[in-house]
Structure formats: structure tokens, C-alpha cells
């Protein structure tokens, strides 16, 4: 329907004005007639003169004319009501499409632009796709034998969202990164060659605050870091992720990505602010050694599914505090080896405000080999603290992970622990410069001193 709201409003005003003018005229005329009639009767109690009869007929004609005009006004009013009713039926469609502005923190528009946005969103052929980018470049050097100081292009992360409807939303992270990959100590791919990974790829359905459902590929809700920083180094304070939460293709020990279905939301708990996340998915690939994609995007190497349940609290009383735990369970079936039961228990307590950050996480990865009494527990933790002073944010992190030399899934990890200190400088709202020193103690090997200078940005 092409009838615009503006036209409708003008029509209503015009009709109302005409109608009130006509009614005023009619009212004045009738009052005049009533006022004059008794006088006429008093002066001429008998038969009225011919001239008066003509006057009366003339007046009656005018009354009938005015009545017909009033009838037309009534018809117009009825038509306006019809159009208003039609407009109210259109409104929900407009409203459904209006609120989405996802890819930027906020969007400024003039009022006319806002109206244009509404009409654009009526057009279902438009995708409403929004893209935000993140990237980084690092100069890195260390004392490990065989390593050279080098400039390194980090991940180029395209964060793509689309508001499908009021309840549905699409979200993805498309990452371009250089090789080679490092999967449990085994390199894969070509040096310096860029590849593309779809790191997140999911459709979200938001029923209410208590139930949100996602399907696709996401970051597993193990602990805090994995779902807080994703693939953007610009968001994180440090130049790199804690070793515990490294990505699968960077030597990480956790199933950081999952393909499947997830439900999350609030738990009615008043000021305690409890939340839940329940996930079921393919889990990680369990062939050993893994020479292909460690995330089972398309096929699962066994029928068993991985489950993860996370509960965390954000109490109203202490803004910025989040405390929670998660339990992950999967079954790995390495080729030519017994099955391995995998349980990952994680707990975290973080306190994050714009000017202050204190992250604490601990977890244990438990691998039990079927048919034997062998159980391998790999504990790990990290603590990270930072404080912003204007544009500068000094930080400190200590991390630890200790796995058995005979660990069946990631035998290369062993013991790694040590501190990191650094300084982040926000050169602008979108560019951060970071300098970080790491000292890492390894079991049976010399400790590593490393220095990294990184420029992280969003665009």
C-alpha cells in the first residue's frame, strides 16, 4: 500500500478542519433560524407572506446542501478510519524489522534516515548484512633454538552479522590466517600461506531472556576466556591468548570450537544473576595423530556426542564480577588405540570493569583410557590483572599447565609455566599497541624469553 503516514495525517487534519467548519456553519445557521422563527411567528401569526415562504425554502435548500456535505465528510472520516486500521496492520512488520543495527556499537542517523531505514527493512530482498573487522601485526622474537625474530601477520577477522528477524540473527567470524597450523605439536600446511577458517558460523534464536538457541559452529563455553575474546586480539589486553585457551590449530589443548546446538539464558535467581549454557555437538576429532581439521565441521568420527554445561553468576551487588564453572564430556576414539573418555572441568572468577580487569581461571583435562586403569589429569590455570591509566594499561599474567609426558592426546604439551608482563597503549579508539615480555619454563628444556610488539586494530 502506497498510502504514506504523512499523507494520512494530512488527510485526517484536512477532513477534520472541513468538518468542523461545516458543523460550525450548520450550527450557526440553525441557531439563527431558531432565533428568528419566534419573532416571525409573533409578527405574523396567520399565514406567512410569499417572500417569507421563499426565504424558508431557500434556507431549507441550504440545510439539505449542508447535510449532504456533512454526509460526505462522514464518508471521508470512515475512509480515514479504514486507512488507519490498514496502517496499524502494517506497523508490526515495520516494527519487526526496525531495531537491528548490529555490526557497530551504535549508529547515528537523522530522522529522515531513520524513516528510510524502516522502509528499507520492509524490503525482504535486502540482507541487512553488517561487517566489522579485526586484525593485528606482531613483531616477535624469542630465545628458543631455531626461532628467528620475525614480523607476523595475525588473524584478519571479519565479524559478520545479519538480523534475519526480530527473533533470529546470523553471526559469523571469517578468519584469514597464515600457516602452518600446529595441532598437538604436529605442523600442518605451508609456511606463510594464508588460509581461510570459518571460526564461528551460527544462527541465533532469541525467544526471551531465559531461552536463546544457537545452531552452527561456536566457541565452546569452557571457562571464561574462550567466549569473551574469540578471534580478536584487539579486544584482549595481551598480545596472545593464555596457553590453556589457544586455538586447536595453534597447539591448544581444549576443544575450543564445537559444531552443534546450544541453549543459553538467564536462570530466575534475582540479584544473583545466574546464567546457564547447555551445548551438544560433534566434539573434537580424535584420530591420532591428527593431520586434518581438528574441528569436526561436517562429519563426526564417532556417534557419541560431546556435551557441555556451564553455569555462571553475575551478581547485581558487584558489577563486573562473574563466577562460574563448566563440565565438558566427550568420547575420543583414536585409530588403533583404546577409546578415551574426556572430561574437562573448569572454574573461573573474573572481575572486569572498563578501567580494571582481573581474570582467574583453572581447569583440569581428564583423559581415561578405556580397558585400562590409566587416567591422565592435566591441570592448568592462569591469572591476569590489568589497570587502565588514561590510554595506558599495564598488565601481568601468570600461566601454568602441566601434562604427563605419556598424555595420550597432547603428548607435546608437558609443563609450561611462567609470567608475562606488558603494556597496552590505546593509540586511538580503534588501534592498540602492545609490548609484552614472556618468560616460560619448560620441563626438560631451557626456559624461553620472548618479546612481542603488536599492533591490534578494529575497522
Amino acid at each position: 500500500m502506497n498510502f504514506s503516514v504523512l499523507q494520512l495525517n494530512k488527510g485526517v487534519l484536512l477532513v477534520n478542519a472541513n468538518r468542523s467548519r461545516l458543523l460550525t456553519q450548520v450550527s450557526l445557521f440553525v441557531l439563527g433560524v431558531l432565533a428568528v422563527a419566534p419573532v416571525v411567528r409573533a409578527q405574523h401569526p396567520g399565514e406567512a407572506p410569499v417572500s417569507d415562504k421563499e426565504t424558508m425554502q431557500l434556507l431549507l435548500k441550504r440545510i439539505s446542501l449542508l447535510e449532504s456535505q456533512v454526509k460526505k465528510v462522514d464518508q471521508l472520516e470512515a475512509r480515514v478510519r479504514e486507512l488507519e486500521a490498514a496502517k496499524s496492520h502494517i506497523a508490526p512488520a515495520e516494527i519487526t524489522a526496525v531495531p537491528a543495527q548490529p555490526s557497530v556499537a551504535s549508529e547515528t542517523e537523522s530522522e529522515s534516515a531513520g524513516e528510510r531505514t524502516m522502509s528499507e527493512r520492509m524490503d525482504v530482498s535486502k540482507t541487512l548484512l553488517r561487517i566489522r573487522g579485526f586484525g593485528d601485526t606482531t613483531l616477535h622474537g624469542d630465545t628458543q633454538k631455531g626461532d628467528n625474530t620475525a614480523f607476523t601477520l595475525g588473524q584478519l577477522d571479519l565479524f559478520v552479522t545479519s538480523d534475519i528477524s526480530e527473533k533470529f540473527k546470523f553471526l559469523s567470524e571469517i578468519v584469514f590466517e597464515g600457516g602452518p597450523d600446529n595441532i598437538y605439536g604436529i605442523t600442518r600446511g605451508t609456511n606463510n600461506a594464508f588460509g581461510v577458517d570459518v571460526e564461528r558460523f551460527l544462527v541465533q534464536y532469541s525467544y526471551n531472556d531465559y531461552l536463546n538457541v544457537e545452531a552452527g559452529r561456536w566457541h565452546t563455553a569452557i571457562g571464561y576466556y574462550n567466549t569473551a575474546f574469540h578471534h580478536s586480539t584487539w579486544f584482549q589486553t595481551t598480545t596472545d591468548r593464555p596457553f590453556l585457551f589457544d586455538f586447536e590449530d595453534r597447539g591448544g589443548i581444549l576443544p575450543v570450537h564445537t559444531v552443534g546446538v546450544s541453549a543459553s539464558g538467564l536462570i530466575p535467581s534475582g540479584r544473583l544473576g545466574l546464567h546457564y549454557v547447555a551445548e551438544v555437538g560433534n566434539g573434537r576429532a580424535s584420530r591420532s595423530p591428527i593431520t586434518q581439521e581438528p574441528v569436526q565441521n561436517v562429519v563426526d568420527d564417532q556417534a557419541h556426542k560431546a556435551f557441555n554445561l556451564a553455569i555462571f553468576a553475575r551478581p547485581d551487588a558487584i558489577r563486573g564480577l562473574q563466577v562460574g564453572f563448566s563440565a565438558y564430556r566427550d568420547l575420543l576414539v583414536p585409530a588403533n588405540s583404546p577409546k578415551i573418555g574426556e572430561t574437562i572441568l573448569a572454574a573461573h572468577a573474573v572481575f572486569v570493569r572498563p578501567q580494571f580487569e582481573w581474570l582467574n581461571e583453572a581447569l583440569v583435562v581428564r583423559h581415561s583410557v578405556f580397558g585400562t586403569s590409566q587416567v591422565f589429569n592435566t591441570p592448568g590455570f592462569y591469572t591476569q590483572i590489568s589497570k587502565q591509566f588514561r590510554s595506558y594499561r599495564p598488565y601481568f599474567r601468570y600461566q601454568y599447565v602441566n601434562s604427563s609426558d605419556k598424555e595420550p592426546v597432547f603428548p607435546d604439551v608437558r609443563l609450561r609455566q611462567g609470567p608475562s608482563v606488558g603494556l597496552r597503549y590505546d593509540a586511538s579508539e580503534s588501534v592498540a599497541l602492545k609490548l609484552q615480555y614472556d618468560y616460560t619454563v619448560l620441563r626438560g628444556q631451557p626456559a624461553i624469553n620472548a618479546l612481542a610488539l603488536q599492533v591490534g586494530f578494529t575497522f
Partner: protein, 179 residues
Amino acid sequence: MPRWVGLLFILISAGFLAGAFSFAADLTPGVPPEPPTASEQTLAIVVNLSNPTENLSMAELHKIFLGERSHWPNGRRITLVMMAPGQPERLAILSLIYRMNENDFNNHFLRGLFTGEVFVSPKTLATPVGVRKFIFNVPGAIGYLRSSDVDSSVKIVRIDERSPYEKAYPLHVPPPSAK
């Protein structure tokens, strides 16, 4: 070449880059909330006329404005309306509700969208008329206006059981003449 040469190179590069960026403008620190003065106006929290919500606590308002609540009790999705950066009303909201500066505010919503915790970022409009029109048209919308800018097209929500016309109402904004 000794390894320390590489480390020294990184340190020198860091110093050079820090110097190059030193001319960049510093980020504005957060604005601390100040007590209202006699000349200040109240800032009304307004919603669509069809919204059944009559009252919100400051804690609820905080969660709604942070994007931590995405739905009204009637199931309608919440759409937050902010006025354009620099407007006194927006500065008041940033100070009184968010306790953030512009940069922190932008980062908060960008991070929320990135993590998926915030379903929709705020809608920003330039004028009180624009805010009124938007809220009038969008059933789930919530925004703020000076009390003098409120008309019958939107509905005022009480905050902690107080209307903007009562004493001890918590949200205030400097008068327009102070722009």
C-alpha cells in the same frame, strides 16, 4: 647474529611507535555523577504507549541500557534508543546509568555484539522529536527525554517508584541553556 639484537630491535621499535602515537588525543576519562542542581531538569525514561511496564528499578534500568536484558516481560524485544554523542541527555545517561565514557560505551556494545550477549546495538537519534517518533512507532523501544520534551505520544516509566515530577527522582540533566 646474537638473539639479543632481535630483542633490542623490538624494544627500539616499541619506543619509536610509542613516540609516534604520543600526539594522539587521550581518551576522555569517565564522568563522575554529580548531585542535581536546582536549575537541572529531570530526564524521563520513556517507552512505547503499548508497553505495560509502569516502573523499573535502577538496577533493571541499568541492565536494560547495558543490553543485559533483551526482552520485555511481554516477550517484545527491547530496542534501546540513544541520543547522538555530545547531547547533554546522552552525557547524563552515560554518567548516571552506564558510568562510562563514550569510548567505553562503544567498546561495551561492540564486545557484546561480538560475544553474542547483546542481541542488538542501540539506535541513535539526533533530536528529541526523532526519539519520540521512533519510540511511538516501535513497541519494544525505550529511550530518554527531558521532561519538557515528553508529549502524549510516549509513556513515562517510573524509576524506583518515582516519576520525573516527584522529588528524589534519580535522573537529571543540565538545562538546555547550558549546551
